[in-house]
Homo-oligomer: 322 residues x 2
């Protein structure tokens, strides 16, 4: 699939700043949450600042990348509409961003997906990568819609990085570190770019059941697929081609956590912050609570990006099942 | 039980303003949430503004009344500490407010309660009113602690009313109406006082399984007890002696909703606002969605006070059980 990227910006902090200038009137400036009890639970007593992207439009940070992608399209392209495949938050975000601009959006989904469509036109396909690519190509051929990739694209990465810019403005002290979950790597690569030159150390968090990024970093080579088995449904994708080298160069470490740790962290966030966050978001907090993170000996405040809050509420809470 | 109320303030809007001046440095100024999809779900298309007191310290608006009560105590009284009985948010709020000031707090609880104590000294008693009163009297005799009532006291009512003052400041347009849940009536009576002279119409919301306030208003006389059977555990108490006449005089109507409506509203708030709110909070939103409310024909924005977010997360979600 060829991701059209007209007038490409360089992958730098300045480009993230430029992206933020463009999207800030469209995306929510999500609030920061703190909790003295959660901060006290961390050995080093670091102040924790949670950036609540679960409160972003569409319920996840993905609206940032979707918005920025749309802002880069020509009038003609906007008229033809946009399309994507995604089993989750990106599709919802793109559909919502398109709806707000009054343009068409086509989404290729596998039958089991249950994303809110915000009025997008939905095409279903079989749950495998070739079927998805073929269906998407068909949609593009029919409609001329521009494909907006969920993570593996410059504008998507730049857009996602804007959450960090806000976080560091909103936190009343200088952050020592920031951590985000990593699935395709849009948020983590964007954050790493946005943090460049600021002295803020950047970390990723990945569930053990989809740890292709951490393994790839160890092996010095991106893994092309992932045999995903984790509750963190937003993180089941392999890290992207564009995303991996950025992470390799600019991210200090990706911490791997078990699903049990993710579930425990998720419950704490629901109970203490009173926020509905999805397992992917809890992965970042779980990593901060993990001994591997504590051993880094970070002194000072830590920013944690809570990536989204789209949870299937018809299912039992994971800790109640346990 | 004699609730000591040194230097009583009059039950007026000015007193609520004075209470706010005192507590605003101690309580969180909780944020306002909006949702175009939830607003669109209301027939008249009123903009809805949710005041997120579930994000208040201790997870409920009760911290406001607790804080204001403490501010009215003498140095000597503070040294002797405070005490209360409560099966829920008031005890937690008082314990937290006391902890922040470094004073002692004694809480009488029935064995089944599971409130977070924030370091308070807990005394258990049998689950009936006489046992609770006797245990509390014993605590007071032993410690000299001042009893801080959960709702039936001037300073508690004035403190709770401060949430409305913030709400009306935070909303970017003039509110047409405000609605809060009613259990003991601290929040509703305080809100009614705070709204006096502002032109904002005030409503209450009560679950059918504990509708003593609505019945009392119909009958023109406060009901002294309530045979409570509702999921909204924060609203199972009868409306207070001080609270009822304020509500009678200043609240336009108390809307009664079924537990099914409460559960549906709660799920919508969790799914769309991404906020963990307890059933009591959802009662107010359920009332706004009820035909009885719609028939009032209110034009303009409606403020909804989400009273708290303390949910027992070890239990299944109520809509999953259904």
């Amino acid at each position: 699939m060829n991701a059209r990227q007209p007038e490409q910006l360089p992958l730098t902090r300045s480009s993230v700043l430029a992206a933020h200038d463009v999207i800030k009137s469209r995306a929510h400036r999500t609030p920061i949450f703190t909790s003295s009890s959660l901060s006290a639970g961390i050995t080093a007593g670091n102040n924790l600042y949670f950036k609540a992207e679960n409160l972003q439009k569409g319920g996840a940070f993905k609206f940032r990348g979707a918005s920025f992608n749309l802002s880069r399209l020509s009038h003609e392209e906007l008229q033809r509409g946009v399309c994507t495949h995604s089993s989750g938050n990106h599709a919802g975000a793109l559909a919502l961003a398109a709806k707000e601009r009054g343009i068409k959006c086509f989404v290729v989904m596998v039958k089991i997906d249950a994303v809110r469509s915000y009025g997008a036109e939905i095409m279903f396909c079989e749950p495998n990568a070739p079927a998805r690519a073929a269906t998407l190509a068909m949609v593009q051929a029919r409609t001329g819609a521009t494909f907006i990739p969920p993570y593996d694209a410059i504008n998507t990465i730049l857009g996602q990085g804007t959450a960090f810019l806000e976080l560091s403005e909103q936190v009343p002290e200088k952050l020592a570190a920031v951590i985000t979950p990593v699935g395709g790597g849009g948020l983590l690569a964007g954050t790493a770019l946005a943090a460049e030159g600021t002295g803020v150390r950047v970390f990723g968090a990945e569930p053990a059941g989809a740890d292709d990024c951490a393994r790839g970093l160890e092996e010095g080579k991106r893994r092309e697929d992932v045999d995903a088995n984790t509750i963190a449904d937003g993180l089941r994708t392999p890290v992207g081609v564009l995303n991996f080298p950025i992470i390799q160069e600019k991210v200090e470490r990706v911490i791997v956590v078990s699903d049990e740790e993710v579930i425990e962290a998720m419950r704490l966030l629901w109970e203490r912050l009173k926020l509905v966050v999805e397992p992917s978001s809890a992965t970042a907090f779980a990593a901060v609570r993990n001994p591997a993170f504590r051993e880094l000996g970070i002194k000072g405040p830590i920013g944690i990006i809570l990536s989204g809050g789209n949870v299937d509420m018809s299912k039992p809470l994971p800790w109640v099942v346990l």
